[in-house]
Amino acid sequence: MIESRHERRFVHLVLLGASVIALYPFVSILLLALNPPGKRVSGFTIPSEISFENFTLAWQRGNFAQALFSSAVVAITVVTASVAFSILAGYAFATMRFPLRNTLFVILLAGLMLPYEALIVPLYFDFRSLGLLDSRWAVILPQIGFSVSFGTFWMRTAFWAQSGSALVEAAQLDGANTWDILRRVLLPVSGPAIMSLSALLFLFAWNDFLLALVLLPQNEAAQTAPLALSFFAGLRRGGEPSTIAAAALLVAFPVLVVYVIMQRRFIQGITTGATKG
């Protein structure tokens, strides 16, 4: 490649600048949170002494142990169920012939364009009359319902790529049934696709706020972490932005951990997902 030194330096500077901007808001609340609680801080203040008291305070007052547990339960259930159902449906669409196949697929596909903001009103009243409001099912069930469109689409393409392979054909000739082909032939080679899907769905489920806000209004035991954060930022504003900042970091922490471990999966999921099909 032909390139000038100036150009190279400039590009790196731009990327460095963008990285600083991407991280700064997060760093700024970290600095804020490390101050002792109640201290009035402003601007760029770097804490003179590092105190973790804000985290302790937020943890105790905001019920975050319960909230993080609740978020984990919701996210894991949603991911497990959605991925399982998506594998089954994606497999059928990718490898089988049956009446209404295309119609059904288009219907499911339309779900990708469905904003659940539009569904929140009926969901609230349906769950209210069912007595499901304020239970974790109220956020788990709809999230599975929304996730299967995306998941089925994803797994269908993944399986499609495999379905003509020699292994599959060999299994078919051996007279293996559909279940065996899925389990013995396709699943073992689909690990990466399943992991990427799981990572994305985990992110969606963990970060959901609107469903939790509307469908878990009262039960503190079922509250998810983002919801607990929002209530915490509302309930105890009293001039303590540093404690709220600590609370925000508590909520972000699990996502960051998963991201650091699965970083390549996330980015691969996004980028390979966008390649021209």
Partner: protein
Amino acid sequence: MEQSGLGQRPLRPPQLSRPSRSARPVRRGPSGRAQPVAYLYLLPAFSFFAVFAVAPLVHAFKLSFYEWNGITDQVWVGLDNYVTVFTDPKVRAALWNSVILIIFYAVLPICVALAIVGLMARVRIRGRTAFRAVLFVPTILPLTVVAVAWRWVYAPDGPLNFGLDLIGLDFVSRAWLGDFTFALPSLGMVGTWVTFGLVFVLFAAGVQKIPSERYESARIDGANMVREFFAVTLPALRGEITVALILTVTAALRNFDLVFVMTRGGPGTNTEVPSMFIYRSVFQIRSIGLGAAIGVILMLELLAVNLAVLWYRRRGDLSA
């Protein structure tokens, strides 16, 4: 799930390996006789989809024709709620704001990312994966956390104003989120910050796939940086741009978390957005039918935008 700018949008699933392409004709689909067992495989996914996506949608349509406060009896009002959507200044403000936010969520990050990627195409980047990983962070954070962080950045005595004062621009500093001129753009910039990482990662991956011969031949033709960008980089990224547009426009229109935590629609109705209005209609104004009607309109708006992007893309492909 309006989340991190990703939304649950049609990211295209991965191509796991290539062999299938050569092994059989592309996209022929399964052949052979019908296998009714397929329905069994579809059952779980479709049950959930039907009960928790389709049924509420039908219910939303139905509710949108009633006046209801959520507690007493429902009253049929025909299209009244839809009339309100298009005549009530507050609802119209909300719809209009969501269109403005498209500039911040979609147009701005796409332009900036294209510019940076255009630069990157010409040089070898050291630490490419590290940059990519860092720039992607805003996209994965819970939006409630993002909102809390930016509420602090924008606070009257927060870092932004502090920085402006420091460099002598103290006449610029203000309570950003309470300012009638700047509240919406300030909120929008947070959207830009969130979606930029996603857009950048998409484009960066796209550029890497462009065969370097194309750049070389462009340079032999004497193309400068700008010409090279328009002749090689931009056309090659058309697919990525389509995906980025769909994802970011969707995030702009569905925006809720940021508004709820940062401004609750204020000052005045300056940062009111449709989803916030849906929430209010259930929990504050208690006009459930109106909320349902806005939801239906929001859905149609999204559908229209998505189809327009896809249609434009297809037309582009034909003319290209």
